[in-house]
């Protein structure tokens, strides 16, 4: 059944949505949206380096995204406001990545595919990497779920429960790097953050517990992928952006529902 490119694309979209949902919730709760952006933009540099050294693009982007995230962690709290620091890092990483790609004169690469994704060109091999990565992210976050949640609520509460919030932060950073690496083929670096944040934000009005919000976000992400791909096929629009558009529409609908039941949540 994976012979059909639409089937492969659909499963790729669902895989990314599953990884992005629980991670996206933490990105929203911890106000890390810019952080996600910076990590994703750094992935372009990872692509360029992977091609230059002919290593797997997945490995290259995970490594560079991870380094980016660690660098931000190290530099934060050293004189610059977090959003300034992330603004500098995100855009510099993107610019350096684009410049690095231009040096690769011997190799023809389709830059647009990395910026906006190329979900219709997902191969069987890509698909197994996406699902493998997504599985690792979901398992990692499920394993650390309670500790992550406690650290997110209050670091001192975490310390008092014998947890180390810094270690939990690293878990999230690693999960983010992997998600970026698997999502790059699906929506491209410019829209990865959207896939993290929009389903999580859309599920907020419909949820009463953190777990409920993560599951709802996964559901919304999957619907966005399936419907977005279908719409892209019918209207001949770019697939990645179409998926994000559907997610945005679902966000508007769920926000509207919140207005209809103001006292509930």
């Amino acid at each position: 059944m994976f012979d059909d490119f639409m089937v492969r694309a659909t499963f790729a979209g669902i895989g990314v949505a599953l990884a992005a949902a629980p991670l996206g919730c933490f990105v929203v709760w911890r106000r890390m949206a810019y952080f996600g952006d910076a990590t994703a933009h750094a992935a372009v540099l990872g692509v360029a380096l992977s091609l230059a050294f002919s290593i797997s693009i997945f490995i290259g982007t995970v490594a560079v995204a991870l380094m980016m995230a660690l660098l931000v962690n190290i530099l934060s709290g050293r004189g610059y406001a977090m959003d300034t620091l992330l603004g500098v890092m995100a855009h510099s990483a993107l610019a350096f990545g684009l410049v690095a790609v231009s040096f690769l004169s011997g190799i023809r690469i389709d830059l647009m595919a990395y910026l906006f994704g190329d979900i219709l060109a997902v191969s069987r091999n890509d698909l197994s990497i996406i699902w493998g990565g997504a599985l690792v992210v979901v398992l990692l976050i499920s394993w650390r779920w309670s500790a992550l949640l406690t650290s997110t609520l209050n670091e001192d509460l975490a310390y008092a429960s014998d947890l180390n919030p810094k270690r939990e932060q690293l878990v999230l950073t690693l999960a983010l790097a992997i998600t970026v690496a698997v999502a790059i083929k699906v929506v491209g670096v410019l829209l990865i953050a959207a896939l993290l944040i929009i389903p999580a934000a859309a599920s907020r009005p419909l949820s009463r517990t953190p777990e409920g919000m993560a599951f709802t976000a996964g559901f919304i992400g999957m619907i966005s992928s399936v419907v977005g791909l279908r719409a892209a096929y019918i209207f001949d629009t770019p697939a990645g952006p179409s998926i994000v558009c559907v997610a945005a529409v679902l966000f508007v609908i769920s926000s509207g529902l919140r207005l209809l039941m103001p006292s509930e949540k």
Binding site: L153, D156, R208, T209, P210
Partner: protein, 249 residues
């Protein structure tokens, strides 16, 4: 039995020293209160005890297997995070329904388990934090200005609750408070902190100690008094030159 022993603990933030050679110990089932002006290192001391601050000098020794319940100063719950009281009480190590019911009962808010955390009033929220601290039947309860933002009646009833908790569960309590009149009546022991331990002892001993009077005035028997002093009393090894304003009743 000694639950926590702090020995010669010093904590620095860059060039600023928050605590200098602080030593104290907490015995089981006693209520100890830390008083001191803003910036005197009260919160740093509590954070060092829970392990949030690794001290460069000195040591914090806890009894083996000690359960510590911690009630933070204030907890901001991001509006994007939906969570019920019940779910909150299960973090991070889980809790049975009967443990939850009992902790909420001890904290004086038995009916809140299904409420959203973000919908609670200030007083309810502090009690839910107390309930969470009580869930694992702590040997020691740490409270960091747990009544901040509560009105006088609210905070008085909160401290009565603490007293009841101690009677019911036999746990020790170490708390930071600004409310001297409450502290003085409810504590077994008071530690007056100002970067270092100025004085400590029973409330009566501390209240009459010159160091304490220098920090908080002598008390004026119910009348509202505003104290302001340039703080540079005779401990020459610490530089703390802050103004201190204390409202006493």
């Amino acid at each position: 039995m000694t639950l926590v022993k702090v020995k010669d603990l010093s904590v620095n933030y860059g060039a600023r020293s928050a605590l200098t050679r602080v030593s104290l110990s907490i015995e089981s089932a006693e209520i100890v209160t830390i008083v001191g002006p803003n910036g005197s290192g009260k919160t740093s001391l509590l954070r060092a005890i829970i392990g949030a601050i690794q001290s460069e000098q000195g040591s914090v020794t806890k009894r083996n297997g000690i359960q510590i319940g911690y009630v933070p100063q204030q907890l901001h719950i991001d509006a994007t995070l939906p969570i019920t009281v019940q779910r909150f009480l299960k973090l991070p190590h889980g809790a049975t329904p009967s443990e939850i019911t009992q902790a909420l009962h001890h904290a004086g808010v038995p009916d809140l388990s299904a409420s959203q955390l973000s919908h609670l009033s200030g007083g309810q929220f502090q009690r839910v934090l107390l309930a969470r601290a009580l869930i694992k039947k702590p040997d020691l309860l740490l409270l960091d200005e747990a009544t901040q933002g509560l009105d006088q009646r609210g905070s008085a009833s909160f401290y009565q609750q603490i007293e009841r908790v101690r009677q019911d569960t036999g746990c020790a309590v170490l708390m930071i408070s600004h409310e001297l009149h409450v502290v003085m009546s409810a504590s077994d022991r008071v530690i007056c902190l100002n970067g270092h331990v100025c004085c400590e002892g029973t409330p009566a001993v501390v209240a009459s100690a010159p160091e304490y009077r220098e920090l908080f005035g002598t008390g004026t028997g119910g009348a509202l008094a505003l104290y302001r002093h340039e703080h540079d009393h005779g401990h020459d090894h610490v530089d703390h030159s802050h103004d201190h304003v204390e409202v006493n009743e």
